[in-house]
Symmetry: C2
Subunit: 551 residues, 2 copies
Amino acid sequence: MSSRRLSLALRRARLPSARPAARPIVSIPSPTSSTTSSISARPFTASSTVAADSTRQIKYTSDAYPNIKRNPNFAQVTAEDVRFFQELLGAPSAVVDGVTSDNAADDIEPFNSDWMRKYRGHTRLVLKPKDKDEISAVLRYCNEKKLAVVPQGGNTGLVGGSVPVFDEIVINTSRMNQIRSFDEASGVLVADAGVILEVADQYLAEREHLFPLDLGAKGSCHLGGNVATNAGGLRLLRYGSLHGSVLGVEAVLADGTVVDALSTLRKNNTGYDLKQLFIGAEGTLGIITGVAVQCPPRPKAVNVAYFGLESYDQVRAAFREAKGQLSEILSAFELMDGRSQRLVHESTGNKYPLEGEYPFYCLVETSGSNGEHDLAKLEAFLEHILGEGIVADGVLAQDETQFQAIWRWREGITEALSHLGGTYKYDVSIPLTDLYQLVDDTRDRLTSLGLVGEDDSYPVRAVVGYGHMGDSNLHLNVAVRQYSKEVEKAIEPWVYEWIAQRNGSISAEHGLGVAKKEFIGYSQNETNLKLMKQLKALYDPNGIMNPYKYI
Amino acid sequence: MSSRRLSLALRRARLPSARPAARPIVSIPSPTSSTTSSISARPFTASSTVAADSTRQIKYTSDAYPNIKRNPNFAQVTAEDVRFFQELLGAPSAVVDGVTSDNAADDIEPFNSDWMRKYRGHTRLVLKPKDKDEISAVLRYCNEKKLAVVPQGGNTGLVGGSVPVFDEIVINTSRMNQIRSFDEASGVLVADAGVILEVADQYLAEREHLFPLDLGAKGSCHLGGNVATNAGGLRLLRYGSLHGSVLGVEAVLADGTVVDALSTLRKNNTGYDLKQLFIGAEGTLGIITGVAVQCPPRPKAVNVAYFGLESYDQVRAAFREAKGQLSEILSAFELMDGRSQRLVHESTGNKYPLEGEYPFYCLVETSGSNGEHDLAKLEAFLEHILGEGIVADGVLAQDETQFQAIWRWREGITEALSHLGGTYKYDVSIPLTDLYQLVDDTRDRLTSLGLVGEDDSYPVRAVVGYGHMGDSNLHLNVAVRQYSKEVEKAIEPWVYEWIAQRNGSISAEHGLGVAKKEFIGYSQNETNLKLMKQLKALYDPNGIMNPYKYI
């Protein structure tokens, strides 16, 4: 095989010199920028998606989940409470008051509902403290008065964790948006919880470093929310989990106690690693107000290739080869099934990257410090997998535009699905052998139940699968014309039983929130649940932190 | 500069083809294998070191730390207790009984004292359960009877954490030594807590994978102990901390509850990450009985270089260049001062790797998937740092023997120090700017106090510094002719104040144990300590797990 030996620089990184081109196999078309449906570089933002569908009414979570009852121990917010918060926080923009004002409903709505338009709460009060001391004073007051709260960052979660169910007060971190420090020698970034992930990454790009997390929602999500949900994302394969890369956390407990565990040291074995408790706790133990993160040097060369494959077995074979041959430069190995790519094609109107259509596609990204070396490795890998017939066809991005365009075939799936109506999203971890089987089995099941079809008489439009192959992490998505109990009951708990039988996880990276709370028993045993409830009771005895969710 | 372009394979990994040699700068002598003092490939083992000094009497910890009093709430072990354990565990080798037998003193002594010969307890009972169920039954009994216990793995710790202070029962994991499973597709190893690190790594080497932790004690230390102490070691720079690479932990709490958090999934966001509690808890919350670890592919090519430098500023400059130029293949950057290398020279009789002597030395290791690429990067790095005058002289290992020989100049320091008498070891994390200053300041202080000298009238022989530059982790070692309160008081708490002023950690990777327990306040604030004590009380209300230590 000969492929075009072309290299690509990631955003502000240095461009390695291009090498003479050999015979190209196929080149990828540039995105059709004249089309109105063409999507932006980072298409996923909460606001744009919500705006696109804002005519559709969102059902209240309390209606969708009638089993969840408001905890009568919680007080209701009074005008007196509002006055206290207004005095405490000072700035008029820090309090969005729907308690004493009837005109705030529109202002409050974005904080009550999620970007998927699946969860909707009844809050009438949103607070935006500016620092940990204000959060501490807010929580101390709420804990004393038994006022329940929901910590909220960019509100880009997928399980309803960041919006209220009833009248919980929203504590939004958007005003805590300062980068506190960056040490170029150690690569340690210290930042407020409300810094947007993409802002942090751009700040780091200017300093030749990289945030060790990347995900579709990066334009909206907050670092505090990323850490609170233990976000995984596109490059966990390379940079590891936040449990490893977060060096320190500053958080406020329910009673207002400020926990300063904001160590910037890579090694610090002085007692229990308290910060770990807050990573992935989804705001049920405290509110994260600051984070210290170990950031790697920004790769000087980034390449991306896109393949069509005839079977899932070949996807597994390609991954095995990528791990072996690309090894330390492999930064992403993403799987997309044919249906997911057809949805992107239909949604964007963009021409497919490859000539034919295939049941499976993979996106392989490399990141390294030497463009020539990386291309040589990637070329050897391509030669091998094409020569062995593991992949049927492939394309290598030849410039930044094509790099972005290829990534949109992966990152655009969420957006494409959002145009279809609703989506039941299952974010699961399953051993690689069985990973894709879940998609086929789900499609077969829903089809045999007569739920899948082309016209509006069928509730289900499509069953698609994609995800982070490198992390054994599948996103099973069931696109529906509208959310319905009939479809939900056909999938749940069947899907969780399927996963539990294979020792998988019912939530690989999205977390529990409202959506998975009742199903946690499929991934955690009784003892573990008891221990978790002990921890919750220890740190939040009144249960005011993000109630009705998680465990 | 021209350096010999020679490549090296790590143990069983594949050897990349050698490239034509350019002009060598200097070659390193082979180790003088005829010398009796020449050290073995992995010199550090608990038994050999203790044997070498077994004529010297070890002071009881209870005498060295008279402030520590035996907790009168704990019961004393009776003959009835011994009978219970003998019946429970069955195998005669599972119980070393010094309670009802007077002849067991010699058998028990190795479990009572540490390899540094600094800590010594009074236990008269050692138990070696074979699995988690036996440990559960042992702990349930001990908790009911209020019998204190010490979990013990390979007993290679450096802070007295793995030996008793008074008559705590030793629960040793050496009989739990099975590798349970390894999945080549995901790289996940599941193993008993008592598997020796080197055994695990050799098992993985045969399957082209690597254990993501390496340290001098690998020939003796147990995986359970590694996780319990959150061991850092030589390649944390590359493979990250155990908080990231350990996917699951199986542990037994004080009351006998078996916590099965032995997930093998890379991503699993279903509730609080309970396993994190046990990582670095030094056996104070429970006993780890099994671990699941994410293991990377074994690098196909490993190279090591060794440099002499004229100043610490140059060491920092060399590290900065290594991070930038070697990036994803950099697997170790170790610092050794001139004094530490002289000790190794005197101890082993080996010829120095370089012609001249220098105040500082660095060891740089690369690990990658392509030997030619790695050498090209390393060569460019060498050319740069020699050309810029950052390093004064250097050598590149040319084969496996030289690879091992160079590493011995780093790993042999601990052994060399152990021949001198006692060593006050401080394992600290300090921002890179000030890292080595602590060694100079300590030497100046002890010299001005008249404590340092060549002959036996001075208590201190040498003050040396070395460590993991890549992790901002310094090992400050004060070699003494014998342990004395005079020296200890001259160093402590002065050294901890020095570190606290720079926001460092008083224990980067060695942990707290007995040695650092009383100084934790220099690295943790009151709130954090209160939270830690809450956790301890939650999981071990009777305080039987590894008492008198940690917090």
